[in-house]
Amino acid sequence: MKSLGSFRRKFAPWNDPEAKPYISFENVTKKFGDFTAVDDLSLTIYNREFFALLGASGCGKSTLLRMLAGFEEPTSGRILLDGQDMRGIPPYKRPVNMMFQSYALFPHMTVEGNIAFGLKQDGMPKNEIDARVAEMLKLVKLEQFAKRKPHQLSGGQRQRVALARCVAKRPKVLLLDEPLGALDKKLREETQFELMDLQMKLGLTFVVVTHDQEEAMTMADRIAVMDKGKVKQVATPAEVYEAPNSKFVADFIGNVNMFEGTASTVMPGKVDIDVPADRITIRTDATRDCSTGQSVGFAIRPEKIRLSRKEPANTAVNAAHGELYDIAYFGDMTVFHVRLESGRIIKAASLNAVRTVEDPLGYDDKVWVNFDTDAGILLTA
């Protein structure tokens, strides 16, 4: 089998103007009474894509998934699946299958019975059902649990039964609602890779809803960051992390130090931002258009900030003096909280690349914070 990576690197249909989207949401709005769960949302998902809907609870991501499955109808707008308008098509006639957050295994049926349920509804002959069920059990490594009832299984096993059950029908699209939410951390990490492997093997389109950004970053080809029923950004995990398009996305994904100021000098390719509140001037690459006097934001990730006891060569821009206020040791890395002279606290992370450091930074040490012009990102929204 080809490795996951070689396929992943080439897989980017969203950059191909010729590629036809497989699922399209066109100006979809969903209201529950006065509450707008999904607000005039448009989104396209491509065939064989692993797509993640990421957002806090109540952002409308689950509603979006339920509309795709057919449990809710959009108040306005339309959903196309492989070119077909899905309006009015009941869930039992849609070529999508969903894995529920609670797994929703039928408690009165065995593992086999659960997996065979969907196949029986299609009127598949008995011997073919048996063969398919056996194949699915093998796929999720539950062969010896075929005759068990759901309550006789552990959480991880139940999750795999739920997965086998919705994959058994070979749907075009698999919808996963917080698929790993109920598993403990270690099992979750293993299962993430199993899911990615499965998606590749079966060549399915996966749409997964999650509130766990690490999960989305690990598994997905693209992530849609959602807030209050709207999509804030759709991009690959690296783009979402390194090039967020708004303060919301920058703040939502990962750790970030956010500065609010005004563009004081606009130079070719560079912008200076005055941040009077934190008594610092930031010089950054002008990745977005902005004009002098415009109020702008600047986001920088903790790992892109350098700490040193020595004063940097240039202290006019991108540098500030402060003292170490807090140290959080994570094993693989350490996060330092630096209190600047203005009182602002900055997070700076450093990788613990060597086991022991001579004269490590300690509490209350005076340090300089500095970073390069390409370390952070200019935000105008």
Partner: protein
């Protein structure tokens, strides 16, 4: 846990249980009395049971009661389950609160009123009173109990089970019979048993709505008692008690065993 028993606790327990069970024990004991006099013990005998089984009016009444019970419990279960489904599922229809409250009303309504209003209805529409009017009356008052029992189960029912079934291609009807009904079955069965027991021992509503040839066992016993209590009635009551007791004991043992088995399975599963 504190396991020391104070004298007060023991005394109150004994008095409480005596109050509940002494009359029943006396009734059972005197059903085996040799003497015709209910208050004088004259030795052990099963002759009243023999005479009971030879008493055609009692046997007829027993058959009427069983038939009414089986039919009314079955229909009450179907209607009550449907009612409970409607009330828990369609949470947004107009007047739902009113309907919800109304389903509880017959539970607290004096039986005399239920019986009388049904009698007036049957007379008004010219329905000849007999076994069918009793059955209808029993369906009416027992379906509320079924609805309440099933409703309490449906409140905790995980709707995503039904959604999963439909997602896997099952139509709403298939979903109901293959998923919803099997899952709520224990509640439906308890509802049926409750309806059957209520029908079995109902006297007031039966008296109002029954007609010639449709005398139920409680009615038969009651009319007999007015002529004086005989050990035959004690025997009839003892049989009724035995039937109900055996039913209750079997049901609770089965329930307990299922729970224990489930707990054991879950523990075993967690160890994997």
């Amino acid at each position: 846990m504190n396991t020391t028993w104070s004298r007060f606790n023991i005394v109150s327990l004994v008095i409480g249980f005596a109050f509940l069970y002494l009359p029943i024990v006396l009734l059972v004991v005197f059903s085996f009395n040799e003497s015709r006099l209910v208050t004088v013990w004259a030795g052990f005998s099963t002759k009243w049971y023999v005479s009971l089984f030879n008493n055609k009016s009692f046997i007829d009444a027993a058959w009427v009661t069983i038939r009414v019970g089986l039919i009314s419990a079955t229909f009450a279960t179907i209607l009550g389950t449907l009612g409970a489904l409607a009330l828990t599922r369609y949470t947004r229809f107009r007047g739902r609160m009113l309907f919800s409250a109304m389903i509880y009303a017959p539970l607290v309504m004096p039986e005399v009123i239920t019986g009388l209003s049904l009698l007036l209805l049957f007379v008004a529409i010219g329905f000849d009173r007999g076994i069918w009017t009793v059955t209808l009356a029993h369906i009416t008052f027992t379906m509320c109990f079924v609805a309440v029992v099933v409703q309490s189960r449906l409140v905790t029912f995980d709707r995503s089970l039904e959604e999963a079934a439909m997602d896997l291609g099952a139509t709403p009807v298939t979903t109901f019979f293959k998923v919803t009904l099997p899952v709520i079955m224990p509640a439906v069965v308890s509802g049926w048993m409750l309806a059957f027991t209520l029908s079995l021992d109902d006297l007031v509503i039966s008296s109002f709505t029954s007609g010639p040839g449709a005398t139920t066992l409680p009615m038969r016993i009651y009319s007999q008692v007015r002529l004086g209590v005989t050990p035959e009635i004690n025997a009839a009551c003892t049989i009724l008690i035995a039937v109900v007791a055996v039913g209750v004991v079997i049901a609770s043992i089965a329930n307990k065993r299922r729970e224990v088995q489930k707990a054991r399975d879950e523990q075993a599963a967690a160890r994997h």
